[in-house]
Amino acid sequence: MPAVWHDLSADAQDLAILAALLSPLLLLGWGICRGYALMPLLRSLFLRHLWTNLAFIALVAISVGLGVGLIAQERGLRTATARVAEKFDLVIAAPGDEIGMLMATVFLQPSDAPLLDGQMWQRVAEAAKGSARIAPLAYGDSWQGHTLIGSTAEFVTHLSGDLAEGTAFTAPSQAVVGAGVPLRVGQGFAPAHGSSPAAEADAHDDMTVRVVGRMRATGSPWDSAIILPVEGVWLAHGLGNGHADAEDPQVGPPFAPQYFPGTPAILVTTRDLPTAYALQSRFDGDDSMAFFPGAVLSRLHGLMGNLREIMSVMSVVTQVIVLAAVTTGLIVLSRLFSRRLALLQALGAPARMIFALIWSYAALLLGIGAVLGLAVAFGAVHLLSAMLSARTGLLIAADLGWAELHLVAACLALGLLVALIPALVALRRDVTEALRR
């Protein structure tokens, strides 16, 4: 049996799980309703309390939809962040908070960080020689809310591959912009100190940077970033150009350690894992901190995983509460229908038919609610994705998957099971009593 199971494709396994969740109750339902043509009575029941029925359906749809939507959203967020972090093998920074550094270097969240000096740069450069490539990541400035990063042309290629437009920068006053930055190639702009809204007031008036290229879209916060040579950032702050010759028009490494103004972070890209681990253990110490953004992110995801579990439990609890409320409501509604049920029994309707009618009525409401819940989840996921993308610049491709379908199927199965209760209650009512009322 397990062998057969493992031979199935992933989709076939998921489909089998879905069938396993739903088929017992559908089979039970078929057994209960077999031989009856319940449609007119169901229509009557549905129309009789139309608004209440619609409210029940909406209640189920919203509770299922939000629960499922949040779970799908969380997964989408995880994949999106992991995808962005892939480009960042190893980050070396001044000792401090890894998560803050991860947010600043990978996700470009504004932060103040102490600088690594020229000696540190030199040590990293020597250690990496021949086995890894390094690039400074100097942030802190902005233009109209777009983060400015001082780095190298090699880093631009690493991030985006070919440029979508234009060429790489070759001078300190040139820049390459992310796909989402509203600057044309050839256009000039004046960078500002810092990244707060007040930054504009403190603009580097004396400096104009010209856009020479545009990167391809990466679906990351880097799409709204502007990258310029690190020399450009240093010069704007009056710190020189990091080279021995202050007039050197050349941009990019090597830099002269004694003239190196500093960088908050160094990105290290290695060819293989052992090199990465060797560099990490060498530079993770008292003078500097070295961390794998991917690993820090997994730790964060682990935390989010706990959150997800709490969320799942909460969503299950919500759904159980909604189910209980709807069941109670259905018992009350079918009570309002009890004279007509008694009439049917007086006409010779067997008990199984009364049971079948109330069960399928409840199942219908819950089923429609669950299916609409999927639609609500779909809408919620896309709305949340759009909102989060707008806020973080992350392209979140959250979508409903098998896991969500299974969850909805499980909810529905539970609902069909719970729907047996109003049916049983309806059966227990005394026929003559009901006829007299």
Binding site: Y36, L41, S44, L344, L347, G348, P350
Partner: protein, 219 residues
């Protein structure tokens, strides 16, 4: 095939209280019988007992079938096969059309084609053809009562039990309905028991029974 009724020593109780007592009663097959009595005397209770909706002690037999010795399920099956019932306040499904109401027992009866043929014929006979697609909540009282009659007779039962079928109708409509019920019963060989305090109904029946304080006696 109509069924004779024979009752002896029947008592129907609610708790300690005897709701209905019938010492001895025999009705031949195909008879039209009226049960009369003041309000609260037990007419509805008697009809429910005859339908097997209430269980009692003693003997209550339609033909060979003694309802007192049958399980609830067996009584329901017997009722479905042999009886039709009409209630004082119609009890139609307001959201459905006249025809859907007339055919409501098709929900659980397997012989749907025969049922709908008969229901259509009955609707025509009772002058309801033009109203077949009208929703029940748009029908007049007389029209509703006739739909209820078609519903009770669509499966051609051997027994018809009707509880005050003319109570909410005007004189002419009431007379027409009773005449129709009687004619149909005679034509199709059916036993009919009607509970009514309407003297016009008594006149149209073969026999009248009186119930007083839960005790049913002939005459």
């Amino acid at each position: 095939m109509s069924l004779p009724l024979s009752i002896s020593g029947l008592t129907v109780r609610a708790g300690a209280r005897a709701l209905l007592t019938i010492e001895e009663l025999a009705l031949p097959a195909c008879s039209l019988t009226c049960i009369r009595g003041p309000s609260g005397a037990g007419k509805t209770t008697a009809l429910h007992a005859l339908a097997g909706l209430l269980s009692g002690t003693g003997r209550l037999a339609w033909g060979d079938a003694d309802l007192c010795r049958m399980s609830r399920m067996a009584r329901t099956r017997f009722r479905g096969a042999q009886m039709g019932m009409v209630f004082q306040d119609f009890l139609l499904f307001e959201e459905l059309t006249a025809r859907e109401n007339a055919l409501i027992s098709a929900v659980f009866r397997p012989d749907r084609a025969a049922l709908s043929r008969r229901a259509d014929a009955l609707m025509e006979r009772l002058g309801l053809s033009g109203l077949a697609q009208r929703r029940a909540d748009r029908l007049s009282g007389g029209e509703r009562q006739r739909v209820a009659v078609v519903r009770a007779l669509a499966h051609d039962p051997a027994i018809l039990l009707a509880d005050e079928p003319t109570a909410s109708l005007d004189r002419a409509t009431a007379d027409a309905l009773i005449a129709d019920l009687a004619a149909l019963a005679r034509a199709e060989g059916r036993s009919v028991v009607i509970a009514s305090h309407d003297p016009q109904v008594w006149d149209a029946m073969d026999r009248v029974l009186t119930i007083r304080d839960g005790v049913l006696e002939a005459g």
